[in-house]
């Protein structure tokens, strides 16, 4: 999915990823680099889950993913089986850990 500023025909840049709610809704702010016009995209829990199921990070990935990251972070009861850090939040692993 790509967004373009209709005034400047410039690709919108990801400005801020965040606003992850407990119910799985998630927000990302995009801004036009030329005119600074911006908007916020909200995803519903299913859409959020679709993105995290791809194993990609919103906002980019600055550190390589840990081995078996999907299993560690997304599977029920997986934290005891591997040495990783399966978060308690069901939507952990959606954003770059550097953010």
């Amino acid at each position: 999915m790509k967004f373009v500023c209709s005034e400047c025909t410039e690709p919108m840049k990801l400005d801020k990823a965040g606003g992850l709610e407990e119910d799985g809704t998630f927000s990302v702010r995009f801004a036009c680099p030329s005119c600074d016009w911006g908007f916020v995209m909200w995803t519903n829990p299913q859409e959020t889950q679709m993105v995290r199921s791809l194993g990609v990070k919103i906002g980019g990935n600055t550190v390589p993913s840990a081995p078996l990251e999907t299993i560690r972070t997304h599977m029920h009861g997986s934290t005891s089986a591997t040495t990783g850090s399966g978060g308690k939040c069901p939507f952990s692993g959606l954003m770059d850990p550097q953010d």
Binding site: K13, G60, E69, I71, H76
Partner: protein, 297 residues
Amino acid sequence: MPELKYKDIVGDGGSHVLDQVEAQQDRLSQRLSRVGCILGIMSGKGGVGKSTVTANLARILAIRGKSVGVLDADLNGPSMAKLLGVRGHKPDVSEKGVVPALSKDGIRIMSMDFFLDADEDPLQWQGPTSDQHVWRGLLEANTLRELAADTDWGELDVLLIDLPPGSDRLTMVCDTLKRMDHLIAVGIGSDLSQLIVGKSVTLARRVLEQPLLGIVYNMRHYFDPATKRLMPLFLSEDEAKLHQLTMLADIPFDPRLLSCGDQGRSFPEEYPHSPTSVALNAVADQLLNKLAAKEIS
């Protein structure tokens, strides 16, 4: 609306999703570059003994001195850990990756079974509880990619992939792994088996363009260890001829195969001269001949 087309728009705003997916693929192909041959065992239909064939073929290849790995691609019904006697293995992470289980005969195994805490635990994912079909397939494909890419297989002559039943799963596994050197179909020869296995064979050939080594008949006969006689069990029309496939072997059912599998013991080692072991060896022969021919050419 601007005259821009999708392809004209550079980047995706900063998430670099394509780069991330490419990095995932690089990791996978790098790992699999140390594997001589990736062999998928498919059936299309459950209950034909595919996993038993996979496990025992792996054991025979190991007995023949090959370095063998087994990837259990049946995430929701993993059986390789039990059949190869490595249940309870807890994968550690080393510098090289996730350490696979090692069977007594030296087979390296990776399976979802190692991540499920209790016998009765199904594979469950965190996330919205409704409409899981929307994302579950994606998550499972990603999990399979990780199991293949993050496991420290080392150098392998053969990596056997135990495919889940269902022709749709065949597509998922081939799409995810991006590499499948050979496929073997397992069928029991019954009309129903022919009908369902036929769909997977067609899919493999026409859609995925995957090379099929041939078909293995399983349980068309029953070997009675007491009388040492072969009795018909699921005998019917020639499935190999029907699907224009090479018949690799006709593996008779032997009740001792079942008890060995249940206890994670090696049937080919304990009963090397049984007709079942002989037939399994015939499959290994044809695979190894194929690999040797490839090496020569």
